[in-house]
Amino acid sequence: MRRKEGEPVGGKDIIRNRALRIVVSAAVLLAAFYLLQRLFMPKYMSSVVEGAMIAEYYGEKKDHDVIFIGDCELYENISPLVLWEEYGINSYIRGSAQQLLWQSYYLAEETFTYETPKVLVFSVLAMKYDEPQKEAYNRMTLDGMRWSASKVASIKASMTKEERFVEYVFPLLRYHSRWSELTKEDFQYFWKRKKVTHNGYYMRVDSLPAKDVPKGRPLGDYEFGEQAWMYLEKLTDLCKKHGVKLVLVKAPSLYPYWYEEWDEQIKDYAKEHGLAYYNLLEAADEIGLDYQKDTYDGGLHLNLSGAEKLASYFGNILAKDCGLSSRRGEEALEQSWRKKRELYNGEALRQMDQQEKGSFTGK
């Protein structure tokens, strides 16, 4: 509004108006930036759900007995529901695609600020990577984390040469080029996302039999990298500091190939540090895994039936070797798992249903 001529102009008024204008302008700018950023960040709801996993943890009630940390060798291979039903173990998988060792370490560090589980299970396949691999995977693990010193450190350790820290602080700077690729999903899940996992477990009911799994190509050097060792040691120390029992596992996935030489190194490390190490590949028969039925992609990952078998087997180890007692009967937990079971069964049924109709796409 224009001030009429001759009307007295109060000095204070001008200053107040100006200050207000600046505040409102800044608020509008920030709000617009925030909204655009929310819109452009990938939602990972229908195609690459692995990107949505890390963030789901924050909505959980955090008093888990066991936390699994690692890549797809955990989050597709073991069912926390079965651990609960059969052993009364309340567990959660903090998994993400191609999670690198330092990312696992910082996830553990972050998890311990929320809760102190009794056992931390870590998948050792990540030892094979000694340097940041792919920007897309970094993003899937890191974008979902809430801001904390651990996230900052994890970003710094993970960035590839092309990446910039500021693009993690303002992901809009990273994802702005999606403007022409936005889909319905980006609007649909603008505010609220749906859950893609069951306590971190990513369910698949379909199956694709494993054929001949090629033996690994001989490597020039079987020694794990320095970075990897360093973070494994840090993880060991961290768990010790928090009084958490660290358990190392190699999941029974046939591929990527797990070399004998690698296994030896982990065995030695475990012995040296007094840690438990289970190579579940060797226990496949004991677990009762049938690679003709229990995998959905020819031996890389287990399907629902495989993951339940593995949970059933591994729960026994956790209960016996780690001395975890059953928490069945705790009313609050029982109630929450009842709900989870419904969702779990519902999802399994939905997938099977779709599969029968032939419209199952795996997602």
């Binding site: 617009a32 990938p42 702005h176």
Partner: protein, 531 residues
Amino acid sequence: MLFTSYGFLLFLAVVLILYYGLPRRFQWPLLLIASYVFYGASGIGNLCYILATTLATGLLACKMQDVSDAQSKWLKGKGKEASREERKAYKQRMKKKRWRLLLLCLAVDVGMLAVVKYTGFAVSNLNVLIKALGSGRQLTFFDIALPMGISFYVFQAVGYGIDVYRGKYRAEENLFRFALFVSFFPQLIQGPISRFDQLSPSLFAPHKFQTRTISLGLQRVLWGFFKKLVVADRLIGAVGMLTKDTQTYEGCWVVVGMFLYAVELYADFTGGIDITIGIAQAMGITVQENFIRPYFSKSVKEYWNRWHISMGSWFTDYIFYPVSVCKPMLDLSSFSRKHLGEQAGRRAPVYASCFLVWAATGIWHGAGWNFLVWGLSNCAVLLVSQELEPLYRNFHERFQVAGTFGWRLFGVARTCFILCCLRTFDCYRDVPLTFRMLGSVLTSWNWGELFSPGRILELGLSWADYGVVLLGILLMLGVSLWQRKGSVRGQIAQKPYWVRFALWLSLFFMVIVWGSYGIGYEASQFIYNQF
């Protein structure tokens, strides 16, 4: 540090805060430090070159000043009693002294530029020659990485040296101030080539914090970023493909390439200058304009008065005029008049210096035959149109179209087309190849390919990208048209606050969203590949 890097934005923010936060007497020293930090970031070794230029030119200019001062003192004192002849002889002597100092200054500055910029080119040409003479031996040369912006600051320093020699203004006695003039960071990468008497008053003056100047300056920076990031950088890939893969992209694609390159070059260069002038303005410093809507020129001559103005005027003032009026040139003029007639006599100096200036302009743009040919083709066009002047006059006397809109539009289109053709030497970087490609426009008549979406999308731009480029072109065109009525930012500033705010906020988000920066989101990258 590129203008379009996060590092530069951070650097700029820090400099601006300090600039207005520190006591005002520290403003120009701060800029000097900032400029050296900025230049040092491109390679610590590069600082040697700029220091050498600064020291040589700064000190020698002071020496020239001393000579002039001594001269005027003598003329006012002792010289008063001297005879006219004595005074004249004295002046001559002093002039000669200054001339020697200037020569030394030019030798250092231009010599350095010649060594770092042209050694490789010279040696490779020598090698061709040696081979042609039948010798198996070849000279080896070490390739010196061209220090960022050296062509610009050396020219700026040389201009200053010549001006001091001519007595246009006094030499700057404070070497640090002179160092800032040479290294002022916003114009270090791509000019403009400023003149000391134009830049120095605002460069060294203390500046009060004024919201208006700062916001006007930053608005211009934002507009520069729009041109650079949204338009120019988006086209880099496509232009690169069109000019590198010459087997695939013949015929009509040459024309497409010319057009896209014209857009890219304009957006990139004027955008960069917008950022430069905008930053300077935000600090209260006036840097001269380098472009005045060049693509609206109605002739090539006019274009060169409106495109990269600071370079053109540099060549005119420091090469074209001195060469045209130097003694050998005047002798040439007399000689031609005597032997070839009146007309030839009048033209000889203009033609010869024009030729020289354009050869120099070409080679200044880059060490390569293509640039030389590019410069000389410009020269040829200019001279031919000069010769055709009577013809034009005749035409316009008969047909009264000169002032009409249609005729002006035709002039603009014709000029754009000619310049696009000339620029192909810059695109293909190879003279025979350029001629072949230009020829293919006529020989391989493949315009049908333009209508196959597959071919168009092959250039790495999606339809959405083409849409953004089109929008960018329209915006730039609109702004240029609007600019004819005066400063666009000035006109926007008249509008109510919230209108302005909405306008600049939209531009900001256009840059953020449409800018070609950061790791592109490639869906393919996200396809989960079984790990």
